[in-house]
Chain length 350, copies 2
Amino acid sequence: MESADAPATPHARAVAPRRVTAAMVAEHAGVSTATVSLVANGKSAGRVSAANEERVRAAIRELGYVVDGIGSSLSRGVSSTVILVAPDISNPFFARVIAGVRAALGNDYQLLLSVTDAGQFPSAAETRRLLSLRPAGLLVDAPDETFLEELSAPGPVVLLDAPGVGDRLPAVNMDVEGGARDLAAHLAAQGHRRIAYVDGITGTATFALRREAFLDEAAARGIEVPPAARVATTIDVGAAAAEFAASWAAWRRDGITAVACATDTHAYGILQEARVKGLSIPCELAVAGFDDLPYSQTSNPALTSVRLPADDLGRRAAEQLRRLIEGQALEEARLTLQTSLVVRASTRRR
Amino acid sequence: MESADAPATPHARAVAPRRVTAAMVAEHAGVSTATVSLVANGKSAGRVSAANEERVRAAIRELGYVVDGIGSSLSRGVSSTVILVAPDISNPFFARVIAGVRAALGNDYQLLLSVTDAGQFPSAAETRRLLSLRPAGLLVDAPDETFLEELSAPGPVVLLDAPGVGDRLPAVNMDVEGGARDLAAHLAAQGHRRIAYVDGITGTATFALRREAFLDEAAARGIEVPPAARVATTIDVGAAAAEFAASWAAWRRDGITAVACATDTHAYGILQEARVKGLSIPCELAVAGFDDLPYSQTSNPALTSVRLPADDLGRRAAEQLRRLIEGQALEEARLTLQTSLVVRASTRRR
DNA sequence: GGCCGGCGGGAAAGGGGTTTCAGGAAGATT
DNA sequence: AATCTTCCTGAAACCCCTTTCCCGCCGGCC
């Protein structure tokens, strides 16, 4: 293809230019690889003369040298990668968590996500492979106990949103119970005495916590949540709408004046169906959600919801992880972040 | 803490049991590390005697040996990781793409996601670090040209959903233009003659393609889309609802009988606002979306939409990538997958 | 002027695995 | 019985970087 006197190698070797190694930089700068390593890693202060430092920097620039992640990881015994393991990433909440994590990790660590099929955690084999990449640390979102056991991690791990799981591991949680109680208190203050509760069908612990705290606080404030008004659906607008369509007649007869939902998605379905039925919200029926998803601000009417500190969750977890990686002790191994009730038109009676 | 005669090392060395290496397995099984490597990688056929193979397997089991990803990557020159770079992961569509990718990659490669802040691609520095992990291959979702240039990847890359970008790289695309044309044809067949189009405000090429194909096909079928009925909003239910609320009076005067949207999210906003206005859908106004998001099946009325082959997109892209990684030539470098119009109640006049 | 202290830099030892290559043992052939 | 295959096996090189010594050199001090 090229010059006729090129060696007749079967592979077009010239196409893939050789990776630039520290040795090449060293030769180009007339120093040893040790010096290159020091400069490239910013550890040159007081160890490399200014003259050599500049020559190495010039060589790095000129050759386009990038420290090889693999070689570096092997040599240091650990990579500079933080792996975030998450069973479900397809919601806007999670995007904010990631933003928080990235902000806290900065440039020192590289964030990679390991996701599996809907709601599942990696198998034991996958987990071992993951660990064999020698991540600097692991963040695990909404973990289940089985996965944590398999993990039995040799390295730093911080859990996110792990109420009641992995008690021995550091975690950052959100006070969903407080949020649920605030919501119950708000509905009580608005004068409701009989309320329906729409739960989610899922294995996640957070839903049980929300429900129990809500029911407990409601009871404490003299609110009744009759058994017939406790339902559960998959987390799906349509399913919630259908459930409400089927139940509303009975609830109305029973004197229900408000519906609290385990997540906003349920509430959207109820708002939709209520509109079909021509119900006036919040006058005939107040509706409240949980999670404060983006659409809740602009829904019609805007939805009262419990806002979760998504970016804080990510940020704090990543900060904790950094401390662990850097060998510092954690002042508090398990943090709980405040949630806040956002009252909007769907429950605000005037 | 332990026996009094233990060496007074400051670190609790016993806590972190030493990593199990191939050398340890080799010693335990009475063979060399070469043999261990062959067995552990399933390359033992015809190279290792049955007896030794069994002894090595037993040792691996007994010691819990896992091939070290870092050492292996360094030695082979490449890791067995496939990195999927994506600017936006928080939508259900993407979850299906991932499922497709995972299915096609199987156990041979490990999928990791690199995501950045909302809609952004990694910076040049981040990109270089990513490549320094020596991924076996890269999948890039909805790439922008700038990122592809920085990539100038030395390794296998396949683009997903990259209409009109990175022409020289293999890609798997979806025929959104065909879908848009089908939609225009459907609305024409339903008797509409004046239609509104709600576009998305975003840099993504796919939106321009949808719009142009729709307008072109509409024109070809004698449908008018008056300039005043061409609007664009951010991809947000509330924004679309507001836009529709502001425009509907004028549109109605202008004889508009249908609205086509660049994505279902817009259509949800319109459905919501139409209900507020008491419009009968599809009789007074037909509404159609694009993407066929999950909620479109259960919305009220169910939404006509263009379904995109999400899992196929992931699967085919991963298959192509595998071929590249394994050095096979691609029969077709750029694939385009069919989309399909799903007609539901929001446009179906009876 | 000799000795000491310190700074700067290099040689070299890993870190864990893969792969080549040469050679040994066992079985086949003459 | 000698030679040739065939099969297996293990030693060793290599991948790229980090880090630990250790040494040479320079200036300062007595």
